[in-house]
Symmetry: D3
Subunit: 245 residues, 6 copies
């Protein structure tokens, strides 16, 4: 069966151009500029030698995340959350997702009583900001952990696996990988997959924007997502082999 | 293979006792007390003859939801969000989920320029408050719509289908249906499914609390979820056949 | 002199049907559903083994209260305070009143260094939510204290008396007991009385909504209030004699 | 029977020195510095040619009030509410009381579609700030209304009566008039009375701080309050006869 | 060259009538009512035997300031910041300026581990509220420090100098000293100078409201400012020689 | 006279390496990445075809600015203002300064009834973030205005001049140009100058961090600032001659 070309002109199972630039800013223990096509996110990992109150004295560490968008990262300007005095429900949902995703592949006991704070700040948005954030944040986390190993604060590596994320959707009945903004708006169904380097599922969040989706569509999206995650984790490894910027 | 009995003693594919009591309070156009075992939620639907600003003059209606927990609905007291001055990220995530779920089965154009505001307030919590909320809210919405049809404000039914929700999880490698609080805490993986009466998927939200889950576990959870949803939508229909309280 | 019948059809000195259902929810140390006619309030008492900072090390306990209304407890929907990010002046006034009323009949030194947190949440409103809250909260407090006595955390009873509350008003020159919403709106004057089981005054709050009221009207309202309080404290005792739900 | 002298050394039925200085600041339509002993409050009345949204087009006006304390009006410094980002429950309770009290003696229809905003700001506190506020605010309101009459915006006087307020209490079994801070702290019972120039009751707010109070004590406090109000309304009239500062 | 008379009718280098009244309120360790013409500000200094968290154990003290305006200190009423729930950018800018200015002339180590909290509350505004605040606050600070010296809590004087502030501007090309509100609105350029008693600069804040200003205008404003500061610090000394109110 | 080398090793009158990269992000009408050494700020200009409420129907436009720092733009992580729910006093001060600076060189009437919203977001901080922001924001504003001229929405150029900003300070008695973070911390005095391309002063903000500064030091700083501004405005012009990124 022949299908119309997808809006972006990419093949149905093709990621956007992905780049992962390490050492993007100088102060953070891990700092990555990740691009999924025109979507660009600064991901930093900050090591803090303290844990949140609910973990005091429990002999384990913590990884948490915050997310933000620069006001003009979007097509028309979005109000600044700091000026409005609160984070939107969407922001909170995304930063909770990033935090859970990263905690799924780290041994918090092995991390010791310290916290790694992830910040994902979108400087240009074109769909998939949460999946780019998770994919980039893992590299920033890896760099921060490597720093702790290098300076002797950690003797064993607490990271058990890689983690990356990608979106999939159904557009005119066809499953698509890695939606940009235009495609995301056109899709009936939209799913974000967070998976490990070894192929385990960490998060599945699928939403029917219009009509409900079927079990067959779900299966097709999952298959496509696996392909994307395999490619993204490979790109993470390649980025780590290069010297930092 | 024989398994140990699940913590609640129920069969692996058994829902808790579910009750759906209509007309629970007197002012709302739809008012339901839904119980999934010890989890009890008041769901009301309020009809307002106006739409939010972003829909003014667009010739369509809106359905939105808010969610809350009474401070002592939980085992130990939770701080009151009104006193803290903000809703938690969890609260916002849940109320956005409830709203999206209900919008998936209503024709907003057929609803006309009016808004139906859903409120789900948990008076007793024992796991699954969001799934009980969605399941009960649909019945409250149905009652509110029936009122509009009865008084002539609507001439055609904008509801296209039923919608209900249930949780599934993996516990010691075994998939379980409809987790209570103790089971939810013990599960490695936890998934909420929102599905329609005709078996379409509206939302899938699966999270690995500890170790990632496999494709096989995902399939098993989806199968179990379908069973639960079929039973819940049947219970919704049964409730609607009875006279209100 | 003959008077027109009051709006509710009750005798001028007649309370609404009052019910006090103990053990309404399962987690709280005291949990009561109180109804004054169509006004229904969930009152819970939560025992916490700590005191607020200003009482640390003072050798005494504390009782405090919070109050809320479900958004659709009212005839038309009221905005959710948690979503607005602040409690109204009315809410704060009522919860301060409930707290003071309960502290008036408890020996805080005999309570020991612990706090009992009262939550009064209105699920259906038809006037008199604050008087129903106080009346029900005392029963929840009684149950929580009895639990502390039963498990040996307290050896002597810190409760010195009962406390209950009722509204009185003047309508077309005639004093009425226990106003429902329609009567409250019609009254020129409205007074809330909080009194003990032994007939002492704890709080008097009288407000002329329109024309000021006279000393004679004040006396008549006080007399009527005494009758109502005597009946309510009797109903509290009756409720405590029954087994919990 | 002989009693010990009251803490302030005043006679039991004696007000503190009261002064009412009109024209205290230059911008407001009414501006009064009122002193009840060491308690000093700036009361201003601001005329605004608009009404709040809920009164638009209803053919009537509105009177409302706000209350504040300078941070160092108190013995030890109190946090600034503007810096904390919210008004306390006590502040809201007091400003609601001031607003209701003033609305009780004005014909809002005769005021026309305009609002008079009262601000009561305590610059020095020694007990009785709410009673001084109400007593001073009425004079500021009178001046603002006189301005509207003088410039022809009003042709008939909407003020029906005077209103003033005073506190009474029971100390070692003896009723006292107009409590200063030290006396207020020592009293078992504390009551604020708001009454009109013609002797009608507008508000009664009595609270047992420790032990409940009896009907006899209530009667004694009411009698004392009437004496105080008569004197205060006389002082208001005297102040109005003098030229402004 | 002859110029038109400035709007206020004063000479170009003439301050408004300045008065500095000490002991204006009774609770604060320093309390000053300062007037620059019709601008009147209550400045209090509160001594607290603790330091903010960031200075704990550092062996030094702190001076900080807060600023507010009574709602009707202005020509038309300004919304109350406590009611709006936040302080404006202007308020924060001014209170930061006052704090920095006072810290510039005090030896914080010599102050010891205590904080002096300055509150500047404008009761009547006619331009120059920040300069009047700084000028008055220094006198309140001086009185508070003298109290600490008198009661032996301090043995050496931590104040190194006086500090005062004045505004200068350019109006129709002519530099003016100490602008009132009407002049401030008419000026093209507006500058606030904070200087010490010995003639050092602490803060210079100059703003071109319309057209940029030249180096020659800057020099002329600085010269005028020096004249004003010399006069204001003399008035501070005179005020300290008089007994308190 | 010989001086020790300044901390950064630069000549006393030497700017850091400055780069101005246009077209840094794709959605904004003007988008600039400006670097003053290690300080990097994204400045965007967003054109909105509406004006704020206070300018409705006044026949003029508006330019306003917001400022933020990414949490890990700083040496140790700074809390996210959106998460804390409010902007600091420092943030508000800076964004008000940026807005005033840009409004000083634009003819708001010639801009027409539209608003240009400037956003300055610091991605890496090493001193001078506000001066870099102003210098970069002017280029973004220039690009946005050029867009309006190009598409015919404007027929005449409302920009009257360039504007740029630089810091100067006194370190060990020597005036320095363009302080980095280490130098800023070491300086006794710190001044920010905002000047136009034709050499007029827009803002002068000088603060003595420790000891007050003298008139001679002020003159020396002003001379140095003029040099820096001349160089920065030249760099702005050079950047505009190049094609966008």
């Amino acid at each position: 069966m022949s299908h119309p070309q997808r809006p972006s002109g990419r093949a149905f199972d093709q990621l956007r151009d992905v780049s992962i630039e390490r050492g993007f800013t100088c102060h953070a223990e891990g700092s990555v500029l990740v691009s999924f096509g025109a979507t660009r996110v600064i991901c930093t990992a900050s090591v803090e030698e303290r844990v949140p109150p609910f973990l005091k004295g429990k002999g384990q560490g913590w990884v948490t995340a915050e997310y933000g968008m620069l006001p003009r990262s979007t097509h028309t300007r979005t109000d600044r959350e700091a000026a409005k005095g609160k984070q939107s429900g969407r922001t909170q949902e995304i930063q909770r997702l990033i935090g859970r995703s990263l905690r799924s592949i780290i041994d918090l006991k092995a991390l010791g009583e310290r916290q790694i704070q992830i910040d994902c700040d979108v400087i240009q948005a074109d769909g998939g900001t949460r999946t780019a954030s998770i994919t980039g944040a893992w590299v920033a986390l890896r760099d921060a952990i490597d720093g702790l190993l290098a300076n002797g604060k950690l003797v064993a590596d607490p990271l058990r696996d890689q983690v990356a994320a990608v979106s999939v959707g159904v557009w005119e009945g066809v499953p698509l990988l890695d939606l940009d903004y235009a495609e995301d708006s056109a899709c009936e169904t939209d799913m974000n997959l967070v998976m490990t380097g070894s192929g385990g599922f960490v998060e599945i969040q699928g939403t029917a924007e219009g009509m409900p989706f079927s079990g067959a569509e779900l299966d097709a999206m999952l298959a496509l997502g696996r392909v994307g995650i395999a490619r993204l984790t490979e790109l993470q490894r390649t980025a780590l082999e290069k010297a930092k910027a």
